[in-house]
Symmetry: C2
């Protein structure tokens, strides 16, 4: 190396996946002097615009070999093929690693591992055979949500059940695959928090964000800077889980807040998260910059917005003609449009709009206007 200053500029980060998370990771990596290499079969993947796009299956030998040449590898989805992980492990640091992914990709193991780490969860019953159904509903409080243990996201692979009969029907409906029956949690709101941990054990946290879902998909996230007590509790739970699971890199915890203020962990994403997109325009480090630093072992501090900021998702709706009013959004003060350069599909996340404001009150007022502009 001719000189120190170039070391940073020759760092490279591999990522399994090339969708919007990889795209936004690359957009934040370039200014840090880091080149991103994305393994992604979709030729139209958003990451192609700002990363080296390896258009091949996640298990492609040449593609994996190229990722192994990077300084570190991370991922944008949890269900990474085992073969891919097995190839990469030992050749290049994969962060988070296989151990943590084994927890987070499987709902039942995740809940057990969360409780073992000292974090509360909803009551649950593991449903893997006919006999597991007996009395399961009673054990979780008489009604609940049956979720497939693997491959579920954005509300997919879930059924609400209020009776033994509904439970059996739902399990048949889900193909009798391994499931978790979760008791209903009488939560007052849903919040989330990101946590990063370097290989040296250095911890850093994102902001506590309040989330509102619509038909199972995140609609809005808000950071208003208050919530000191809830944020402290969320950070403590995140610390426990990060240390118990040996996190290297970044993960995001989703919580239910109970009426008494207690936080239960709903689920864990071993990566940046939709609810953290608002950090892109908060004036602090973004969750993507935090992920780059944590995965590459660069010094890291908490990534928190310096002012009130919110996010509204743009999800494809059935009526293709119902589109966001882009010009009105551009004209609204404080808006930051983020498009993913993906083909339209109903129910697909196509972009988001971040909204900044000098104070929480202004934010709430503008957020109402912004929501009206995005179907």
């Amino acid at each position: 190396m001719k000189w120190e200053g170039q070391e940073r500029r020759t760092l490279s980060l591999g990522i399994l996946g090339g969708g919007q998370l990889a795209q936004m990771l690359a957009l934040d990596a370039i200014p840090l002097g880091v080149r991103v290499v994305a393994l992604e079969p979709d030729p139209q993947a958003g990451a192609r615009l700002c990363a080296e796009h390896l258009q091949a299956p996640y298990t492609d030998p040449q593609g994996l070999a190229r990722l192994a040449e990077c300084d570190a590898v991370t991922l944008e989805f949890e269900n990474v093929p085992v073969e891919a992980l097995e190839y990469l492990e030992g050749r290049v640091p994969v962060r988070p690693g296989a151990g943590l992914l084994a927890h987070s990709k499987h709902r039942a193991r995740e809940k057990e591992a969360l409780r073992a780490a000292g974090a509360g969860t909803a009551d649950f019953a593991v449903i893997e055979s006919e006999s597991d159904l007996d009395g399961a509903l009673a054990r979780v409080g008489g009604q609940g949500i049956l979720k497939t243990s693997e491959l579920g996201y954005d509300g997919k692979g879930q059924r609400r059940v209020r009776s033994e009969a509904e439970l059996r029907a739902a399990w048949d409906d889900l193909g009798r695959v391994p499931c978790v029956l979760e008791g209903l949690v009488p939560f007052v709101r849903e919040v989330s928090l990101g946590v990063a941990r370097t290989a040296q054990g250095e911890l850093a946290f994102g902001p506590l964000v309040e989330n509102v879902h619509r038909s199972g998909i995140l609609r809005t996230s808000v950071y208003a800077g208050a919530d000191q007590k809830a944020a402290a509790q969320a950070r403590e739970l995140a610390r426990r889980v990060a240390e118990a699971w040996g996190l290297e890199g970044l993960m995001t915890l989703e919580f239910f807040e109970l009426p008494n203020g207690e936080l239960l962990v709903n689920e864990v994403a071993p990566r940046v998260h939709n609810s953290g997109h608002l950090t892109q325009d908060g004036g602090g480090i973004s969750q993507f910059g935090a992920q780059v630093r944590a995965v590459l072992g660069l010094p890291l501090s908490d990534w928190k917005p310096l002012h009130a900021v919110a996010m509204v998702n743009w999800v494809g709706v059935e009526d293709e003609t119902a589109q966001p009013d882009w010009d009105a959004i551009d004209a609204l003060p404080g808006t930051h449009i983020h498009l993913y350069h993906k083909a339209w599909r109903s129910g697909r996340k196509l972009g988001h709009v971040n909204l900044t404001a000098p104070d929480a009150e202004t934010l709430r007022a503008r957020l109402e206007q912004l929501e009206a502009l995005i179907p």
Copy 2:
């Protein structure tokens, strides 16, 4: 077009030049759904990482033809070859256009056009022939700075002169090319402000930024949010010049502030400006996002940080081993590293670090720490 929402995503913006300004423009254009096409002969140009890089001379016929296919074309430097402009004009909107560039690329014409627009400048004398030297120094106050009328930047092509003899020697030294002799301005500080104007005449402004230079090159820029009076004056001067010159797109004015508070225009850059880089991390629109919107005619509002923010340039110094302490910079709260992926050269701008803080006092304290980490 299948649906409205895709219109935005298929917008493309051409740019003459592919250096760090084009790179940062592209990084802000992608989230807006805009693809950037950069015509730039340098194979290692930073824009290659996030834009379609046409590696060819600025006058390359195929390259210019590709730019002409874009929705609009802008530039990252003022001295655009006349042939390039002549080819593009009429085929695609070039913003700013040839008329404005004719002013800003030539110091003498620029000063005359600024005064015609009702903006004050330093006293000056045009030096284009031997005889112009006679009495020129006296007319600008006895001492001044001789600057080449064209192609000067970052303090290059300038000579300080204190006597008739020094003036004649300086003009010889500069090759007896057309020059402007500027009188010394007893300024208390240097500030700058960006202004954007759409083809429809809609105006928007950036923040008033305070700048400190080191050996002719910008070292630090600071936005602390105060300066309401100076900012109002700068906006009014920028409005006059933008309207008188028929600005389409974005330009930046550099000012000298006199002891009595009056602002004189030092020079005008027909583009985003180094002093505006701090808007990247201010929580508002960045100057690059503003340029994308203004050049493409998208709705635009003022681009102002929501909190105190500063910038420190990293310029290659003689001693190659004297490098910024990247780890210490990453560890300092509020830092945002922006590297240009350029080859090292002494005196060359290689990157900058933006610094955010909740208030002006914290910013000043951190800025002192940050400056100590960047040689």
